[in-house]
Symmetry: C2
Subunit: 197 residues, 2 copies
């Protein structure tokens, strides 16, 4: 169901074709909610059937047409109602931590490889998310620019602040992952020091 | 595929029936890898077909039998090989952060509710994981006790250290979530202070 709200969220900034919606899930909202194209197109059609979005045909090239989806009042109401409802927290599922619990089955060299890869992956994520925050705060992010154009000036501060806040949360998590991986490398050195020769 | 390795991981501590395996996914490994019963039973049967585990019938009650699954040499080899292979990192998917990016659509009271719920949820997780670490370090955790009995004493330090390390990583993440939610409450106060009267 979260996919539906992610789609509604981006349609509050601008009406989009199915293709453009899928594209947004590669950048933009895709940073916080990943979804493959194969889920997005059918979900848009279901949302149209439920009148949360309205598809309008428009000309595309000399002979073709394409559908552009507009959020409806019912769609906005559904989005606001989700915003007022407590979330259900899913149980934890993280393969890196699950694997780490059984590292005694790996060679020390493999443990080191996993931990270095973990730190490198999340360091890269931090860089990506930091550049997102910069583009949000400077209003250069195309989705932010489109959104700000659509809403009155007195809302702009909140719009920008909450988007940056969401990414700051991801950066905190990624930093915790990097710190954890580094503490694992220290643990490994200590264990190898303790190991009987 | 990760479910398969989570199952192999727990079978390295002791052979288990399907029911006992499913139970382990409620506590123990379930803290790091959640899986519903409906996935565990079919996976065990697939793993038996692939000779990663061996099911042995045993008497159960006056007339019944049940199957106990033993990890095979091929199962151990598959587990070790997974342990030596770099992980693929899945794209991010977190509903709380996705929602937070669009908090301008929520009333300030709802934002406060979400952030407080977020902090409370992860504070509770920290408490649960901390008590797991304690039970691991004291060897009172039943799965740790079973595992230590099965492996030579010189491996015990690593077995215990890596399990505690995995949970420490989860605690770091949960602490980052709590800190983020608290910073959100501060942001909200600041925005409400800025809001036109």
């Amino acid at each position: 169901m979260s996919l539906r709200y992610a789609i509604l969220a981006i349609l509050t900034a601008a009406p989009l074709t199915g293709y453009e919606t899928a594209k947004r899930f590669e950048g933009s909202v895709g940073h916080v909610w990943h979804a493959p194209d194969s889920q997005i197109y059918p979900e848009l059609r279901r949302m149209e059937a439920e009148a949360l979005v309205e598809g309008r045909e428009e000309r595309w090239g000399p002979k073709g047409t394409k559908t552009r989806y507009y959020i409806t009042e019912a769609g906005e109401a559904a989005f606001r109602s989700w915003m007022a409802t407590p979330l259900k927290y899913a149980p934890w599922r993280d393969v890196a931590h699950m694997q780490a619990a059984y590292f005694e089955w790996a060679e020390p060299a493999s443990v080191r490889m996993h931990l270095k890869q973990h730190a490198a992956h999340y360091t890269e994520q931090i860089a990506q998310w930091s550049s997102q925050i910069e583009a949000i705060r400077s209003h250069e992010h195309p989705m932010i620019a489109a959104r700000l154009e659509r809403y009155p000036a007195e809302q702009h501060e909140r719009i920008v602040a909450f988007k940056a806040f969401a990414y700051e949360g991801l950066i905190r998590l990624a930093q915790a992952e990097v710190d954890w991986a580094r503490s694992g490398l220290e643990l490994l050195e200590q264990l190898d020091g303790d190991a009987p020769a």
